[in-house]
């Protein structure tokens, strides 16, 4: 299963937006490519990616083949309490991935 790299600041001030960066390792196959034998490679992209902050959904994305391989996202979330950012994503093949980061709110 593909994995991810999540970056959040070491410490964030309460009530302020903080930057979240995530890169998921995934080929984002468009479905338009062929392999060496000329057989077409089926489409397999991450359809949806959700970010939960202490259980609450704070950001989600619906992606397509128009997003580059190893999808990268950078967005902002409002700091409330120290806790967990949990990511979950699912691709066309039905494969699910999860990863998380720990956040310290000062």
């Amino acid at each position: 299963m593909p994995d991810a790299r999540i970056t959040v600041p070491a410490s964030v001030p309460r009530g302020k937006p903080f930057e979240v960066r995530v890169i998921v390792r995934h080929p984002m196959e468009t479905g338009y490519r062929t392999d060496e034998s000329g057989k077409s490679i089926p489409r397999n992209v991450i359809r949806s990616l959700t970010c939960r902050y202490n259980g609450e959904v704070v950001f989600s994305a619906r992606l397509s083949s128009g997003i580059a391989a190893n999808p990268y996202l950078r967005f902002f979330v409002t700091a409330k309490e120290s806790g967990q950012l949990a990511f979950e994503w699912v691709d066309d093949a039905g494969a699910r991935g999860t990863d998380g980061a720990t956040l310290t709110v000062a």
Partner: protein
């Protein structure tokens, strides 16, 4: 759409032709406005369906893409919406539409809770030179749009060879 990106995939061209092609694109660059105003949004059927007759205004939202992308496989994209926002006028979603990709609905970003800074960065694939449109939806139903034009020298629809 015919075969995706066939027109722009320069794979079959001789290297010298490819050089000439990218040179021509560079020469044209000063004449082409990098960022078109939203009142001249390109005609994208998927976007027209999404808008369903509603008229987006061309303010506060900014879509940033390079004017010239050497490689359509991975093109940095940034979209931001200027505040201030209130819970009643916060941004709930941003949709990205492509004029020339085989899949016109590139992405949708949802903001289910209030955040005062709306900024999303990603990397997109572009099948050909085209305009990209970002439409931001506010909680009160208002729509904001921004378009950016990108010249792509190597299409992102084929394999990397």
């Amino acid at each position: 759409m015919t075969k995706p990106g066939s027109r722009f995939c320069s794979r079959t061209l001789k290297p010298r032709r490819r050089w000439l092609q990218s040179g021509a694109a560079l020469a044209l660059l000063p004449w082409i406005p990098g960022h078109a105003a939203a009142d001249e949004l390109p005609q994208i059927p998927a976007m027209t369906a999404f808008l369903a007759g509603r008229k987006p205004v061309s303010e506060r939202v900014r879509l940033t893409l390079p004017q010239l992308a050497d490689n359509g496989q991975t093109v940095p994209m940034k979209v931001s919406v200027d505040g201030p926002f209130t819970p009643a006028t916060r941004v709930t979603a941003i949709n990205l539409f492509s004029e020339a990709n085989p899949v016109p609905e590139m992405a949708q970003f949802d903001f289910p809770v209030y955040v005062e800074r709306i900024e999303v960065e990603s990397r997109v694939r572009l099948a050909a030179s085209q305009k990209i449109v970002a439409v931001a939806t506010l909680a009160d139903g208002a729509l904001l749009a921004s378009a950016a034009e990108v010249i792509v020298t190597i299409a992102g629809c084929m394999d990397g060879t």
